[in-house]
């Protein structure tokens, strides 16, 4: 929708990040650290796509997306923790502090990559199913939904903080060494992870585009408008909401699984109440109800966060806070709307093709 053709932006985006950035790196202009950083932004962007599906399109304000992100992240984190030491009797230190002598049963599957991958997606899906089923079945919605999921996020967060859960407590999981035998500290591996994240982002974006472009996507919008009308039109609202909730959860988990090896740590801090609200912020700021907006929002907010905490260590909260407020106030469509306005200014596009604002 942006610019004349729908294709240009993704192509420019992809070629910039898939070709130019790596080139810049091999030319020594960009450090491997920046590459990794972008890889992490892509993970956030993936998660933001999931949120946009559930919130932007379906109107379900879910404040527990970070849980799914972290479930994926913890899955891969457990695998990485076990990979860090190859001795058979290896126990992570926090387990020995709990006086364990052998690996708890729920850690067992994470000794291998394939089960890790499967469980990393299945567990969030199952959790999303359970949460979603109970919430949607009883027709909790609107702000009730928001607050209940927030409470849920808080409970899960509190539980993960506990040491007894044998998931690392507050410290979470860290000190990863290798992934599938690749040394995570190697620049080449970091570059590889970056490319995988980029490819995943592109793939997930395509899938989301299909979803929102399909009739399914229209039903989602219809649910956002008037859930009861959808019911009277003979659609099983519960199934639709549940499906999209699970899809969003799995997308979040994928993002988490890519995020953890690049960041090197996963802690409950990633899933506190703030974390989920911030994820909503990305989407809102980027442009809710537009997939590109979600990506734009996640990347730009996190980029700003990284930059401002270094450049303005004392004042960055003002900058971000003011930006949040101004964007919400003046740009219905977030950054996307801002860019469009600029594009119209410079005559790159006509008013007509601008993305429709949400009512």
């Amino acid at each position: 929708m942006l610019l004349k053709s729908d294709k240009i932006i993704p192509i420019v985006f992809l070629s910039f990040f898939a070709i130019l950035l790596p080139l810049g790196y091999s030319a020594g202009l960009i450090s491997v650290n920046s590459i990794s950083l972008w890889g992490r932004y892509f993970c956030f962007a993936i998660a933001a796509l999931g949120i946009d599906l559930i919130w932007g399109y379906t109107g379900i304000m879910s404040m527990c997306q970070a849980i799914f992100f972290c479930l994926g992240g913890y899955g891969i984190g457990m695998y990485l923790t076990l990979q860090a030491d190859s001795s058979p009797a290896f126990l992570p230190d926090f387990m020995s502090w709990n006086n364990l002598t052998e690996l708890p049963f729920f850690w067992m599957p994470f000794q291998n990559f394939i089960p890790t991958l499967l469980l990393g997606l299945l567990i969030p899906a199952a959790v999303a199913f359970i949460i979603g089923y109970f919430i949607f079945r009883s027709r909790i919605k609107g702000v009730y939904m928001a607050i209940i999921t927030q409470a849920l996020a808080l409970s899960v967060y509190l539980l993960f903080l506990r040491n007894e859960t044998n998931m690392g407590g507050t410290n979470g999981l860290t000190n990863f060494k290798t992934l599938l035998g690749f040394d995570l500290s190697q620049p080449a591996v970091k570059l590889g992870l970056y490319m995988v994240s980029l490819a995943t982002l592109a793939g997930v974006y395509q899938i989301c585009r299909h979803i929102v472009g399909s009739k399914f996507g229209k039903v989602l919008l219809a649910i956002r408008d008037s859930e009861s009308r959808v019911g009277f039109t003979a659609y099983r609202v519960l199934h639709y909401k549940l499906t999209i909730f699970i899809i969003a959860a799995v997308i979040g988990a994928i993002a988490g699984m890519l995020y953890v090896p690049q960041t090197g740590i996963i802690t409950p801090g990633r899933m506190d109440v703030k974390a989920s609200v911030e994820m909503l912020m990305w989407v809102a700021l980027g442009g809710r109800g537009h997939l590109k907006g979600a990506i734009l929002g996640a990347i730009s907010v996190n980029c700003l966060y990284s930059v401002c905490t270094t450049v303005f260590p004392e004042g960055w909260l003002f900058i971000l806070g003011v930006l949040y407020v101004l964007t919400v106030l003046y740009f219905d469509k977030g950054f996307l709307g801002l860019f469009e306005k600029l594009a119209i200014r410079v005559g790159l596009k006509s008013r007509k093709t601008a993305a429709a604002p949400l009512p």
Binding site: M61, F134, R137, S138, R139, I140, K141, V143, Y144, A146, I147, I148, Q150, A151, L152, L154, S155, L158, L159, L161, R162, S226, E227, S228, V273, V277, L280, M281, A284, L285, G315, L317, F318, L320, G321, V322, L323, Y324, V325, V328, L329
Partner: protein
Amino acid sequence: MERIQNVFSGLSLASILILISLGLGIVYGLAGIINMAHGEFLMIGAYATFSVQLLFSNVFGIQSSDWFFLAALPLSFIVAGSAGLLLERLVVRRLYAKPLDSLLATWGVSLILIQLARWIFGDMTAVKLPAILSGGIYINPQLVLPYNRLFIIVLTLIIVAIVYWVLMHTRLGLQIRAVTQNRNMSACLGIDTKRVNAITFFMGSGLAGLAGCAMTLIGNVVPDMGQSYIVDSFLMVVIGGVGKIVGIIVSGLGIGISSKILEAFFEAVYGKVTILFIIMIFMQFRPKGLFPDKGRSAEE
């Protein structure tokens, strides 16, 4: 004896929760704004109290006196209320049509306010407990009812009564309730909606400030003090049934007392998690809170 202690603790926690949530309930239930910065108005109230204390001891030279607290009560209301008014004028005014966006904008505001407080006051500020409110009613070695908590319970009772009366039995209350539900039509009937919005926000934020002032009696004054209560308060507002003062009171009592009873058996974390799960199960049966609107008027 232990049971009395638990019930008293529960009542005390409940009254604090109610005091905090009342303003939130007014702003959310009546103005439709999800004010994530509500906790920060609490903080503003607490810092107002702190400033009054400084003023009394450093400028007026009234040391070791309880007068500052008496002055701080209304002042914290006014200061936080005015801050709320400012927020309404600058930000919220544009968001009445899109309530969910208000959540995001006020989130940004809360970041700003927290950092602002950190800049001005730093992280370490202490408010002295007024001498008349220290200590407590000694019943036996196991049971002492602290004056500060009794004071908060009484304060809450009074505030709740006033707020209830204003909303349900005054012209202003009627205006507030009408404007929330249908802004345009209220204007067409002759209500100055901007004024009503401003008053609503002033009241809601002012109540938060008052709660903040009361909080200095039992807790700390730090820039992010508001964050500790925000999830609980939202839960209460929602469980009670949005816009229902009685709901806030009942859910506050419910959460307060059951937390304390559970905490007596579990550790605090598990107590809290258990409460949250009970609430979620409860919502299964009452998806629209304790006191839902029934019938047609409740529909979208």
